[in-house]
Amino acid sequence: MKAILICSLSLLFLTFTALANADIARPKQSPTANQSRVVLHTSLEIAPDSKIYEARLQIPQSQLQEFRAALDAAAGNTTIAASVTGNSTRTIIAGSLLFLSLSFAGVWLARSRHQAGAGRMRKAIAAAVIVMATIGAAAIITRGNAGPPGYYRWRTLPQALSDGHSTAGGVDIEIVADDPNSRAGLKLLIPLRKAKQGEE
C-alpha cells in the first residue's frame, strides 16, 4: 500500500513538473506559424510499389472519419485536449481540489488502518481511489508524448525505399495557407536528420 502511495505521488509530481516548463524561453512565433495549425496526429506508412503508375494516397475509412472530425473541431470548436487544459484558472482550482481529495483519501486511509474491522476491502478501495485520481490527473494534464522523438522512425526511410521496403511512423496533419506561387497540392515533409549530427 505504501509503495502504491509513493508511486502515485511521484507520478503526480512528475506530471506537474513536466508542465512547469521552467527556465525555457517561449518560442518565437513566426507569421507563418500563425497561419498553419496541426489538427490531427496519426500514423503514416510510405511504401514503394513498382506496379502503380501514379503516386497514391490511401486513407482508411476510420482515419477519414477522424480527419473529418478533427477538421470540424478546427473549424471553430475546441478540441477535447484544449477544453481540458486550456484555462489556467480552471487548472489551478482543479489541481487544488485534487490535492485536497488526495489528502482526504490519505487521512481516511490512515485512519481506517487503525480502526477495528478495517478490512482489505477498505484498503483496496483506498488504493483504487488514489491510483485512479493519480492516473486521471496525469492523463488529463500530460500533453507530452513519451518515447523517442517522431523523426527516429523515419531515419531509415531512404535506405528502405532503395531496398523496396516500407517505413511507418507518426505524422501530423497540418492545414496550411494556400500558396499562389506553388503548383503542388499536397506536400509531405519527412523529418530526416544527417547521421553526423549524432541524432540517431
Binding site: A73, V84, G86, R90, A94, W108
Partner: protein, 326 residues
C-alpha cells in the same frame, strides 16, 4: 427474464432508429415519468420532518436555488457576451454548487444515521470537483448519462425494503446491462454519424454529446443515451409503481384502486397531513403532463428544450430521496 427481454428490446430499438425512437419516447414518457417520480417522492416524504427537518429544508432550498440558476443559465448565455472559457467557468461553478449541496446533504444524513460510515465521501466529492474543473462540459455530459442509472439504484433500494426475495434476480439483471451497453458500443462505434440537418435532430445529437465528442459516432451516442433513458422511464413508470401497487394490493385493497388513490400517500393519511394540498398537487402535475403533450404536438423542438432545462429539478430531487434510502 422479462427484464432482460425488455432491456434487449429497448437496446435494439435504440440502436436501430435512435432519432425517431428518441422523439417518440420523450413525447410519450417524459411527462408521465415525472408525474410518477413526483408521486413516489410524496410517498417517501414524512408528514412531520422531525429530526430530518434540516435535511429536508436543505434539500428543498437546494433544489429551488439550483433549478432557478440552471434555468437562468441559457438566459445569461443569450443576453451576455461570454468567451468560451468564461462560459466553461460558469458551468464549472454551477456544477460545484451542485457538488457542494450534495456534500452538505451527505453530511446531514451522516449525522442522522451514525451507524453508516461516510468518511470516504469527502475524498470522492473533491475528486469529482477536480474532474469538474478540469473539464466542466464533460462533467455535465457525465450527469446526462449517469442520471438515468440513478433510477436503477432507487429500484434496488426499494426492492431491498419491500421485496428482498427479488433483489438477487434484479442484481443479476443489472449485470446484464454493461454487456448490452458494451455490445451497443461495439456495434455502433464505427457507424456513420447521424444526419442532424434539421433543428430537432441536431438538438438530440447535441444533447447526447456529439459536439463534445466529435470523434465518436453520434449514432452510438444517441443510441446509448436513449437506451439509458428508456431504462429510466421503465423503472419510474412500470417497475416502481408495479411493486408499490403489488404491496398495497397484498395488504389491503385491489392493487389499482389503492395505488391511484391519493389516500395512499402518507401526507394524506396522517391526521395532521395535507390531503387537499396533496390531491391538488397531483392533479396539477397531471395537468402539466397534458400541457407537455400539447406542447410537443405544437412545437416539439422548443418544448423539448424547455422540458430538458426545467427537468433538472427532478434530477436534483433524486439526490435527497436516494440519500434517505441509503
Amino acid at each position: 427474464m422479462t427484464l432482460v427481454v425488455s432491456a434487449l428490446g429497448s437496446a435494439l430499438f435504440a440502436s436501430w432508429l435512435p432519432l425517431q425512437v428518441s422523439i417518440v419516447t420523450v413525447f410519450l414518457f417524459a411527462g408521465p415519468h415525472n408525474w410518477f417520480e413526483f408521486r413516489y417522492f410524496l410517498m417517501r416524504l414524512p408528514a412531520r420532518f422531525g429530526k430530518s427537518r434540516n435535511f429536508f429544508l436543505t434539500a428543498f432550498a437546494g433544489i429551488g436555488f439550483l433549478t432557478l440558476t440552471y434555468v437562468l443559465l441559457p438566459v445569461a448565455f443569450r443576453f451576455g457576451s461570454w468567451s468560451e472559457e468564461a462560459w466553461s467557468i460558469v458551468i464549472a461553478g454551477w456544477n460545484t454548487l451542485l457538488l457542494g449541496w450534495i456534500g452538505l446533504l451527505v453530511w446531514l444524513r451522516a449525522r442522522q444515521k451514525q451507524r453508516s460510515d461516510w468518511s470516504w465521501f469527502p475524498a470522492v466529492l473533491l475528486a469529482a470537483g477536480a474532474l469538474n474543473w478540469f473539464a466542466p462540459l464533460f462533467f455535465s455530459l457525465a450527469i446526462v448519462y449517469l442520471h438515468p442509472l440513478v433510477a436503477l439504484w432507487f429500484l434496488d433500494r426499494h426492492l431491498l425494503r419491500t421485496r428482498p426475495q427479488w433483489v438477487r434476480a434484479y442484481r443479476r439483471f443489472i449485470l446484464v446491462l454493461p454487456v448490452l451497453l458494451g455490445l451497443m458500443i461495439w456495434r455502433l462505434s464505427q457507424t456513420a454519424p447521424l444526419t442532424d440537418d434539421n433543428g430537432l435532430f441536431w438538438r438530440i445529437t447535441q444533447h447526447s454529446g456529439a459536439e463534445l465528442l466529435p470523434a465518436v459516432s453520434s449514432h452510438m451516442l444517441v443510441s446509448v443515451h436513449l437506451f439509458l433513458e428508456m431504462l429510466h422511464y421503465g423503472v419510474w413508470i412500470i417497475a416502481l409503481p408495479f411493486i408499490s401497487s403489488a404491496i398495497a394490493g397484498r395488504e389491503r385493497e385491489t392493487r389499482h384502486q389503492q395505488f391511484w388513490k391519493p389516500a395512499s400517500v402518507p401526507l394524506v393519511k396522517h391526521p395532521r397531513g395535507f390531503p387537499k394540498l396533496i390531491a391538488t398537487m397531483l392533479v396539477f402535475a397531471a395537468l402539466l403532463v397534458v400541457v407537455l403533450w400539447f406542447g410537443f404536438s405544437f412545437d416539439y423542438a422548443t418544448t423539448r428544450d424547455i422540458y430538458f432545462t426545467v427537468a433538472i429539478a427532478h434530477v436534483l430531487a433524486e439526490a435527497p430521496f436516494l440519500l434517505k434510502m441509503l
